[in-house]
């Protein structure tokens, strides 16, 4: 199965899988437990998609992205979204250079490879739009000049499901631009003990410790891996299964507004990433099914009845995934 690697660049499929495995292991050095979250984040890297991380404060969202940045190299920026953050604080602006008496472009923190947007829903819609436009178009316009963002450009935005007062919820059209919405839950007891031990042993203060994370990937490697994932073998029956899942969600009981065609594209891209991260040279229905909740949960709206009952999109997706027949012929 080396042929794919030969066509894609310097890495073979086995090498790409090994590098992704090493990347996951390296992130897991800093983020104890949360294996599913780490896997989904790596899948997003491979699929070149942006991630919306949702979780309560203190579950390791920021640490995860910092560890990922440390393990993959490239330029990393972090923006803390606040109500007074302006679009130019994100994208950059033109300033008058008094020496040369000319306007000079001052690039904002968005010019990086991995951007962490902390608490994205704290900033007003105008600032959110500036970021989300850059995510979609992979370029920023300052003073009429279009400045492309160097690939790979990935955004990991976090938001907090509680304390919604004074926040600006992302509109559905903008949420759709995130490839995955990943839930970061509390670790289990065993993982929490290990995490507490590691975070307090010989550590002064409560800084996020990523000192044990070494770089195992370069941006060139990542681009090569992304190309390999994009050229993985995918049978028509798998495509049919992905389309069927998304189409069924549109008519499913309890779903008011279903996911659009962009969701199908995202599902297939994520499944390719998952197959490669699992060490497979081809995509199976398992890859589609594993990635479906994180691809679809933010792209559908439940009916009022279910919302009153306190159901979450994941509850409905669980039924949907069990009800749609998997390909067997």
């Amino acid at each position: 199965m080396n042929t794919t690697g030969d066509q894609a660049g310097q890495l073979s499929l086995e090498q790409a899988s090994a590098k992704l495995e090493a990347l996951e292991a390296m992130i897991a050095r800093a983020v104890i437990g949360q294996n599913q979250v780490i896997r989904e984040s790596v899948v997003a890297l491979v699929a070149a998609g942006h991630v919306l991380l949702e979780g309560l404060p203190g579950v390791g969202k920021t640490l995860l992205v910092r560890a990922m940045a440390a393990a993959m190299g490239g330029r990393f920026s972090r923006i803390q979204f606040t109500p007074d953050l302006m679009p130019s604080d994100v994208t950059g602006h033109a300033m008058l250079d008094l020496k040369s008496e000319e306007f000079r472009i001052r690039r904002g923190p968005i010019f990086c490879n991995l951007l962490l947007g902390d608490e994205i829903n704290r900033a007003p819609a105008k600032t959110q739009s500036a970021l989300l436009e850059a995510m979609q178009e992979q370029q920023v316009t300052i003073e009429g000049r279009a400045l492309p963002l160097a690939p790979p450009f990935l955004v990991f935005a976090t938001q907090n499901p509680i304390e919604q007062e004074g926040t600006y919820p992302l509109p559905q059209a903008q949420i759709d631009r995130f490839l995955l919405k990943v839930f970061v839950d509390y670790p289990d007891e065993r993982e929490e003990i290990a995490m507490v031990r590691q975070a307090t042993q010989g550590q002064v203060g409560d800084q996020l410790d990523t000192s044990r994370v070494e770089q195992v990937l370069s941006t060139q490697d990542l681009e090569a891996i992304q190309r390999i994932a994009a050229s993985l073998e995918m049978d028509d029956s798998i495509l049919g299964y992905a389309v069927r899942l998304v189409r069924t969600a549109r008519d499913w009981q309890g779903i008011e507004t279903g996911p659009g065609p962009r969701a199908t594209l995202a599902l297939v891209r994520a499944a390719r990433g998952h197959a490669l991260a699992s060490g497979n040279g081809f995509v199976t229905p398992d890859d589609i099914k594993v990635m479906a909740p994180s691809v679809l949960r933010h792209r559908l709206k439940l009916t009022a009845d279910l919302e009153i009952e306190g159901y979450q999109p994941d509850d409905v997706l669980r039924d949907l995934l069990a009800g749609v027949p998997a390909p067997r012929v």
């Binding site: 073998e233 995918m234 049978d235 029956s237 798998i238 049919g240 069927r244 189409r247 069924t248 008519d251 499913w252 009981q253 309890g254 008011e256 040279g281 081809f282 995509v283 199976t284 229905p285 398992d286 589609i288 099914k289 009022a304 009845d305 009153i308 009952e309 995934l321 069990a322 009800g323 749609v324 027949p325 998997a326 390909p327 067997r328 012929v329």
Partner: protein
Amino acid sequence: MMELDRATAPLRQRDAWEGQDLGFALARAWFLPLWLLWWLSVLPVGVACLFLTGFRPDLWLLALWWLKPIYEGPLLIWASRALFGERLGWSDLKTLFRAGVPRRLLPYLLWRRIGMRRSFLMPLTLLEGLQGRAARARRQVMSNGSGVTFWLTLVCYHFEIILWSSLLLGVFFLVPQELPRLDLIAAVTDDASWAYWVSVLAYVFAFSIVAPFYVCAGFALYLSRRTELEAWDLELAFKAARATLAEAARGEAQRPKGGRVGGAATLVLMAGVALLASAGVEADPRSDPDQAKALIAEVLAEPDFGSVKEIDVWVPIESAEDEADPLKLPEGAKPVLLLLASSLKWILLGLAVAGLVLLLVRILRDRRRLGWSLGRARRPTRAPPTESVPMVEARLPADIAQAVRACLRDGDRRGALSLLYRASLAHLQFMGVEVPEGATEGECLRLAARTLSQAQMGPLRQVIRAWQGFAYAHCVPNDAFLESLIDAWAQWAAGGQEPA
């Protein structure tokens, strides 16, 4: 017999305040249909009252206010059906009005109109249909603990006033200065002024907003009381327990009797817990009413209450000439202006009617997209059947091994491996492993590994790998491997446990 398990809202024991919360949540969920239904009910009554009151806005508002129970009946009927998943639509309007405005509603327009428990008692009248002594006894039983309805009514009145005054102030502050200003004093005192009409219409609009919440809150209180009296929550819990036990009994029919004894013991235990929970109800401590009256009288005798103060103010006296014609119009201009005003009035009326019709047309056309309708709720579909979806239950040949070999002879390797895979899933089900329709290859393996030993799984792992490799990676297995796989499968299916 009421089918409680069809209820779209959770039925459990609630105190009165929680009951009201449920009512408000229901009203929010069904607001648009209820609001439209309210307007449909009020429009004919409003038009009739307009003529009957001789276009006097104060009397008209009083009549509309007094006849509120007439519009609330259909809302209640609609909500009671919607609770059990039935959405009445345009075609059911006749039924709605027939059920919602019966003759039994008459007391609600007379002595009960000024009572504070209307929203709670109306479900008793309209939904249970009892009369005479039985109705009185039922009201007595149900009314215990319904004191919160007083606060519901009071709060709703206040919300109507707040909404009305907000609307008036909104108009007052937002209309540009060049246009005629709304006279706030005239809006509440001068019934001959147009401002008074604006005020009256604002009040009717406030009625329409509050009515769904008032009706649903009363209905939810009624539901809470019935749940408490008739233990609907326990009934639902027992139904769920019975369904669970029946399912377990079907699945574990081969187990010894101990399991059935355990199931019965679970039921007895649940009943015991329920009885213990209900035994914790305590008597309602009440204070002595005579003591309370004396205390109230004492408080009211304080100088802060009931003192009267007389204040004299100067009032300007305007000349009669100024009042008669404040604009001092030239001769001949008045008829022209009157004609202009009359024409403008009819043009505006025409535009308003056309706008209303257009709005109705848009609403009817877009009601599906807007996500609400008075029509029947869209039937939810689960997995829509598609032609390309193969089922594991698709008919399998009697002799699998022979059929697989036949496929191989015809060069149909995909068909052969697919058949072998589907037959393996069917065999798993035969061995007691439940394989859902949506289970993927990996899930099938995990389900089998959870229930069966390694030896019992036979060549399943190899079959699935071969199928995945061929179907998804297009890797063609050689004939010798396939032949050995078929042999191992045949041995497994025949009851042997030798892996390939």
